[in-house]
Amino acid sequence: MLAFLIYKLILVVAVFAVSLVVAMYSTYAERKIAAFLQDRLGPNRAGPFGILQPLADGVKMFMKEEIIPGTSNKWLFILGPSLAMFTACMTGVVIPWGGTLTIGDQQYPMQITDINIGILYLLGVVSIGVYGIMIGGWASNNKYSLLGAIRASSQMISYELAMGLAIIALVMHTGTLSLRDIAAMQTGWHWNIVYQPLGFLIFIVCAFAETNRAPFDLPECETELVGGYHTEYSSMKLGFYLFAEYINMFISSAVISTLYFGGYNMPFVGRFVHDPNVLAVLGSVFLFAKLFFFIFFFMWVRWTLPRFRYDQLMNLGWKILIPLALFNIALTGVLMYLGGRLH
């Protein structure tokens, strides 16, 4: 029992640390990739190639004066970024980060907890995430913040629907809500993207909207809303909001890799490597490779596409993505009926 607790504790700390470090270096990567896509060099002063830049930014964030506006609701003002950060860190719990390690006769799956309704948990926590933005924006008592908060909530609610519907089609295909089972099903090249291309397209568009990333970054919208919901925030509270966005991006990339790109499964490698422990570690590395590609993809899209207008955003969500997702469910049903199960 104690060994089990220690193992879970180590896993929790590891997942927490990894998501923080990845989010930290995502800020660096974002600036570097933005620069490279725009024919610039990006940060290159702090340490070799600027790799200490995130540390410098973090120190700066902590050193800044902390301002709580006099007209704001103080407790909600503090609750906003805390909630955003908290929910962002909570999502990593159900993701299978790798296969199972066998030490002695003990099995150690590289997943904090395998809830049998992992996907529902994920959707639930992501939905709570919007409260961080909403509360923070409302508590600031600033019209830009309020507009950002309203946009954030309406956007997230609209896109969660399409995202849920896209996942329903996936769940119809896999027949399980457990993320571990879904990952384990996709051995070799049986990645879900092959069976659910339309669902994947809908899911990734919604993932962009859910993480408030360009082209769906209307809640922040530097150019119109002066930063949107975090206009009034300063110091590390602002840092938490920005940080939560990067953690969300990291988790969405992990979810996309797990749901549609085989998770920790690797094609071909099983033929050459037979030690299950090595295979499990390699699987984690492979998962992270996919995940980093998707983080890069998120940034690549951000620095390519312009922002949506608000009505375009709503049209896309309600008039295109939801009907498309419903069509996808119907299509999946018909195909499943015709071909028995899709495998």
Binding site: F36, L37, L41, T304
Partner: protein
């Protein structure tokens, strides 16, 4: 048409493929990715400096002659030529025993350029009959006080052991041009007008 790259705007219905937007998005992403691998335009400033033009007009220098005596004779032509009225000077007579310090019998005991007024046009350089003042490729550094921008002789006159090289801007053609200009006011017609007359 001013350019051959302009396109006539036509408001037509988009086809289905265009309305899906995905091909257009992919094309855009291909373009941005191609920039990812391109040579970057940034110059890493303190380590790498872009070369200045040989005739760059920066901070002024008051030259000394070969023996080390100041060339300036405080004629005031530079101050007259200056459109920004940045130059002021006080002339003094050379005393006995100062021949090694000042080349002519008259010299500038105070010579000040207000770098905040100066527009770095180089007209002082053109006006100077003694080849004494030149603009150089040095940039005037910024300071916090206005007074520090008024450069006196201590900053303007070149040091005897640390001469400022102006050979790149004082070429043969420049010297000839200045030589011609020196007597231009005695001529009734310019060379060009003479040529047109005959």
């Amino acid at each position: 048409m001013l350019t051959n790259r302009s396109e006539v705007v036509v408001k037509k219905e988009m086809s289905l493929l265009e309305r899906i937007y995905i091909p257009a998005i992919l094309a855009g992403m291909r373009i941005t990715l191609s920039h990812f691998f391109k040579r970057k335009a940034t110059v890493n400033y303190p380590e790498v400096k872009r070369p200045f033009s040989p005739v760059y007009r920066g901070q002024h220098v008051l030259k000394r002659d070969e023996a080390g005596a100041e060339r300036c004779t405080a004629c005031g032509l530079c101050a007259v030529a200056c459109p920004a009225e940045a130059i002021t000077m006080v002339a003094s007579e050379r005393k006995k025993g100062e021949e090694n310090l000042y080349r002519e019998e008259k010299y500038a005991s105070i010579y000040e350029i207000n770098m905040l007024r100066c527009i770095f046009c180089g007209l002082c350089e053109d006006a100077c009959p003694k080849e004494a003042i030149f603009l150089t490729d040095r940039i005037v550094p910024s300071t916090f006080k206005r007074g520090e921008f008024i450069y006196g002789k201590d900053k303007l006159v070149e040091k005897v052991d640390k001469r400022v090289d102006i050979s790149k801007r004082q070429t043969q053609t420049v010297l000839e041009f200045k030589q011609n200009k020196k007597f231009a006011h005695n001529r009734l017609y310019t060379d060009k007008q003479l040529k047109e007359k005959h």
